[in-house]
Symmetry: C2
């Protein structure tokens, strides 16, 4: 068992700090301090800060794919799988409370920075969107599956933004309950 390669550690730490502080506001010094490496060392592993962002997004895409796969193994019905998504707001509340949704806030920031990696970041949304659509198709909603997927995406996204702004856990929990109820009563 070898120790994690420095490159992987950089990606991991950058991932966390980009989420907590934003991409633009996270400096090499911030990352270096957490890892006890020098600033100069970065440039052996990456050419620019944007390259680190690229790798962070790729890592997030991969982790998300694995999570969706896990959900499919853990839940046997489409509705149960969709609820796994809806429950993230509770599962990850400790982070969402302070930093919002990792996907939404990254895309929002990159849009304002007019950053070249925005399309890559959007693929995170697309991943969830396509997965949710597939679940709605399995539920028998072929004709409007994508619309429903976007609706669920938007709902949780809005709740994340407001719950983050107001640091309101009860609101988040209540909305998750409402989402699940809506789903239970949908297409019955």
């Amino acid at each position: 068992m070898t120790k994690p390669a420095t490159r992987e550690q950089i990606i991991e730490t950058a991932d966390r700090l980009f989420y907590q502080q934003g991409f633009n506001h996270t400096s090499f010094s911030d990352i270096a301090a957490q890892l006890n490496i020098s600033r100069g060392n970065f440039y052996y592993h990456f050419q620019t800060k944007d390259d680190i962002l690229q790798s962070v997004i790729e890592a997030r895409l991969e982790k998300t794919r694995e999570m969706l796969k896990r959900w499919e193994e853990e839940a046997s019905t489409p509705k149960a799988r969709i609820k796994k998504y809806m429950q993230i707001l509770n599962t990850n509340w400790d982070k969402i409370q302070y930093y919002g949704c990792p996907v939404g806030t990254l895309c929002t920031e990159l849009a304002k920075l007019n950053h070249a990696s925005l399309p890559e970041a959007n693929r995170l949304f697309t991943l969830f969107r396509n997965w949710l659509r597939e679940q709605f198709i399995q539920l028998g909603c072929e004709e409007n599956a994508d619309e429903l997927a976007m609706q669920v995406l938007a709902w949780s996204q809005g709740v994340a933004t407001l719950a983050n702004a107001f640091a309101d856990k009860k609101f988040a929990q209540q909305e998750v309950r409402k989402m699940c109820n809506w789903l239970d009563n949908y297409n019955k």
Copy 2:
């Protein structure tokens, strides 16, 4: 008719750039370049960059109050007034497409920056929240007026985030229609 005071021009330009580029990513040079004033001149009108942000938020609060007042004059029923809010996504689409919701994106950024003015920025949300709640009370939903206000807020917030990420106007329009339909059928 005197020409607008420099102080007001700074606030106005900072307001626009903070929205378009984000607070952190907007420099004194950016604002100065737009106004053809020198960087040094800022410090006659403001002590720090954070002070400019404070003034920008105050200006937004004031403009929002005026807008809500106008809506009350223009629309005679609670439902018509709530629809004014829902329609913003269409009215301001040209900006939202590129920069998202001015309230949500500011609060999201300030949360990540751990910025002292976050509570002030949140008051923008509260302004809409209280106004929407009042409309729902007038609609006869005393018991859950605040919950409904938050729901409408979250819905439009989520749509703004997704529509911004995907630059999808049709999605935004369709969701506005769905919101209005939902409202029409509510409490009938």
